[in-house]
């Protein structure tokens, strides 16, 4: 622990159990979330490697089709609920109290519980792979009737999703309570840093939609074991109703996975452009508009289910509208860079990479919004390319940018810049090698979620597989850099970055266990 603490009497030295298991400290819980997320990133990544190994050439080489489907299903569930969401929650834990000048999260015991549910939820989810009938193989979207064919794993999958939902809801309640109650005097809402704003809106999205997912999967459970017929036509239900309910959760979920990333990038670009963020208030309004629109576009995930024409038109138009606030955000970032005095340390590289490649994913998203064209794109690799562009060089790059940006603050050590830049360039090269060819095979007609494909798709699939192996290996370098930085390195200054602004940079690096016991003065 640091010797330059603000108030030493608070800086206890608890044992391992007290420090990590029963902790109520937002910084330690943030660390737990982030390390858990990194672990899940590798577990989900290993599954992606299985998928890409099988798709390296045509024919069935490595796994059975059923297990292949389990891999695609589990890869998605683990990456979404285990890697990206906990990473954002970990960042929220570490940063929100420091950014708003609060002493901790508002509900510290709830905070501990939110985290410690997760290891159990994911142990249970992963254990389903070893159950009779195998793991869930109906896709992470859990569409009935297919998902009802799952074997013994079924109730365990449902229960683990319930646990993840409970964890997310509690985490979100905590974020909202912290932001609304723990701000230092003078920190008005429209003075809050953008990461705090995007998380506030994300937390509301989570509170609104996680119970909807819980309801949907509970109905699946009763359909399978308690003779209800919510999603079975034979009993007066409708399988498509599940899709409507699922995507009413699922589309806001997409923004849950990207809004905090917008916040992160809105901190990093101004810092390294040495120029204030352009259009702060329009950024806030754009985030709020995206959040609102996210509730009225869900059926664009299901244009092919046979909706009435009016429904298709409505969802096409509302989906296209999202391009407007999203465009505003991208334009604002570029205007922030414009006539700045830029340097390109690793966090900036990842942030700029985020803007470029997220925008690419946005373009394919705009194409997917066009319902007649979506009939061709739907359920092909074009969709796979689209959402991986917004999630990997999108959300994941933003998380890595955040890790490099705030790691010196958290650990008190600078990371190795050469390794960091190497990590960025290799990741960028391989992520494009993996996902760019998927646009081509998708347009040429390759459906997603298939373990084997016809010969004309071979070259691009081989290319994507090589890219994915490279990307996977490169991430080991990331783990190495993080561990190296935690263990030691050049001492970081309090401000760390020349252009850094915000309350967290006024604290020592690393900050003592308890900060802002006395609220800072906000000008």
């Amino acid at each position: 622990m640091s010797t330059t603490t603000v108030d030493d009497h608070h800086d206890e030295h608890p044992g391992f159990f007290k420090r990590w298991i029963t902790t109520t400290n937002h910084k330690d819980i943030g660390t737990l979330y982030l390390l858990f997320s990194l672990l899940m990133f590798f577990v989900g990544g290993a599954m992606a490697m299985v998928i890409r190994a099988e798709l390296y050439v045509p024919g069935l080489q490595w796994v059975e089709p059923g297990f292949f489907n389990s891999m695609t299903t589990m890869h998605a569930l683990i990456m979404i609920f285990g890697a990206v969401m906990p990473a954002f929650t970990g960042l929220a834990n570490w940063l929100i109290p420091m950014m708003v000048g609060g002493c901790d999260m508002a509900l510290p015991r709830l905070n501990n519980w939110s985290f410690w549910i997760l290891p159990f939820a994911f142990t249970m989810l992963l254990s389903t792979l070893f159950m009779p009938g195998g793991g869930p193989a109906g896709g992470w979207t859990l569409y009935p009737p297919l998902v009802l064919q799952t074997g013994n794993a079924f109730p365990f999958v449902i229960f683990s999703i319930h646990l993840m939902g409970i964890s997310s809801i509690m985490g979100s309640i905590n974020v909202v309570a912290t932001i609304l109650n723990m701000r230092a005097p003078g920190m008005t809402l429209l003075k809050m840093p953008l990461f705090v704003w995007t998380w506030l809106i994300t937390a509301y999205l989570l509170i609104a939609t996680m119970p909807v997912l819980a309801g949907a999967v509970t109905m699946l459970l009763t359909d399978k074991y308690f003779a209800t017929s919510f999603f079975s036509a034979a009993g007066g239900g409708d399988p498509v109703m599940f899709q409507h309910i699922f995507w009413f959760f699922g589309h806001p979920e997409v923004y849950i996975l990207i809004l905090p990333a917008f916040g992160i990038v809105s901190h990093i670009i101004p810092t390294f452009a040495r120029k204030p963020l352009f259009g702060y208030s329009s950024m806030v309004y754009a985030t709020a508009s995206i959040a609102f629109l996210s509730f009225i576009v869900w059926a664009h995930h299901m244009f092919t289910v046979g909706m009435p024409l009016v429904g298709e038109l409505f969802f096409m138009f509302s989906t296209m509208l999202i391009a407007v606030p999203t465009g505003v955000k991208v334009f604002n970032w570029i205007a922030t860079m414009w006539r700045g005095s830029m340097t390109f340390e690793t966090p900036m590289l990842f942030a700029v990479g985020f803007v470029i490649m997220f925008t690419l994913g946005g373009f394919s998203g705009l194409m997917l919004a066009i319902a007649p064209a979506d009939f061709q794109y739907h359920d092909t690799y074009f969709v796979v390319a689209h959402f991986h562009y917004v999630l990997v060089p999108g959300a994941v790059f933003a998380i890595m940018a955040a890790a490099y940006f705030w790691l010196p603050k958290w650990t008190g050590h600078m990371y190795n810049e050469t390794l960091g830049k190497t990590h960025f360039w290799l990741s960028t090269l391989f992520v494009n090698l993996t996902f760019f060819p998927m646009h081509f095979v998708g347009l040429a007609g390759m459906p997603r979620r298939i373990p084997d494909y016809s010969l004309q798709f071979t070259e691009f699939n081989t290319m994507a597989s090589i890219g994915s192996f490279g990307f996977g290996l490169t991430q080991l370098l990331f783990a190495f850099i993080v561990i190296q930085t935690i263990r030691g390195g050049k001492k970081a200054t309090d401000q760390v970055w020349e252009g850094a602004e915000g309350l967290e940079w006024t604290l020592p690096s690393p900050p003592p266990a308890h900060t802002f016991d006395v609220p800072p003065v906000i000008k």
């Binding site: 024919g59 059923g66 409708d238 120029k275 005095s341 925008t359 066009i370 290799l426 081509f440």
Partner: protein, 278 residues
């Protein structure tokens, strides 16, 4: 360190360039883009796809252009001093309104095509398609063909899928069936689509026809095929372990050939019906 970074940048640029070149070569041989297809709708859809694609390219040129210009010239290492501006209501309004106008321009043709796609009325014939785990069933519901029905399953030998048995010599690997759906050209064909177990989706890229087969419900779609030929597609909704192994093959024949095929089938169907009656 700078040298290493420079090397890395060079290396990645080279690899990306190589990648682009290979895709150029591949363009000749393999599909890179959506097929134009053989129906009026598929051509319209292709047109929409290219229109929105070029709109995206145009926006990309402007957005990425400004970004790269800025990254090239507004660098601290070039001694560029940061400006201090951080707000402009006018600019915000401009870049809200312009995308909005572009979207409206895009929405109009898209809506027109969508309305055309959903106009299933006044068809010449109706085919019922039923999805099964993991095959399709086709039933001809009306006209001379009424009563003709058959299953259609993958005909690629298992040895080719699981082993190495000359898979590469089979141009239709995983895209071939025992009984293809035979359809006439130039007729408006209505499809009624349902499923007997889980959700499937019937898709022929060349027709730009894709819709889910939902158990307990009937979906409608239609097509008019302009040219005779063999058209291949696959199930497009995850439906279990053999989802990747239930292809769709349509053989489109012009009127005389179709009638000839039909006569064969009808005779067979009548024989079959007699057997069942006895």
């Amino acid at each position: 360190m700078k040298k290493l970074i420079g090397r890395l940048v060079q290396l990645s640029v080279l690899v990306l360039a190589a990648l682009l070149l290979t895709t150029q070569f591949a363009a000749a041989e393999y599909g890179l883009n959506m097929p134009k297809g053989v129906t009026q709708i598929s051509n319209e859809v292709y047109g929409l796809h290219m229109l929105i694609f070029w709109i995206c390219v145009a926006i990309a040129v402007v957005v990425y252009g400004a970004m790269f210009w800025s990254m090239m010239f507004h660098r601290k290492s070039r001694g560029f001093k940061a400006a201090t501006f951080h707000h402009s209501t006018l600019v915000e309004i401009v870049w809200t309104v312009i995308p909005f106008i572009i979207l409206i321009a895009m929405a109009i043709p898209a809506a027109k095509t969508l309305i055309a796609i959903e106009s299933t009325g006044s068809s010449d014939m109706t085919i019922k398609i039923t999805g099964y785990q993991w095959k399709w069933r086709y039933e001809y519901l009306d006209g001379d063909a009424a009563g003709v029905s058959f299953f259609s399953s993958l005909s690629t030998p298992l040895e080719q899928i699981n082993g190495d048995a000359d898979r590469n010599q089979n141009p239709n690997y995983l895209l071939e069936v025992d009984n293809a759906l035979v359809l006439p050209t130039g007729k408006k064909i209505r499809f009624l689509l349902t499923s007997s177990d889980v959700i499937h989706a019937w898709w022929i890229p060349d027709f730009a026809v894709k819709k889910d087969a939902v158990p307990g419900f009937i979906n409608e779609m239609w097509t008019v095929i302009d040219e005779p030929g063999v058209y291949r597609g696959q199930c497009a909704e995850l439906c279990g372990k053999d989802h990747g192994f239930m292809p769709i093959v349509v053989i489109a024949k012009d009127e005389p050939e179709y009638t000839a095929w039909l006569n064969q089938q009808s005779d067979a169907a009548i024989q079959q019906a007699k057997v069942e009656l006895d």
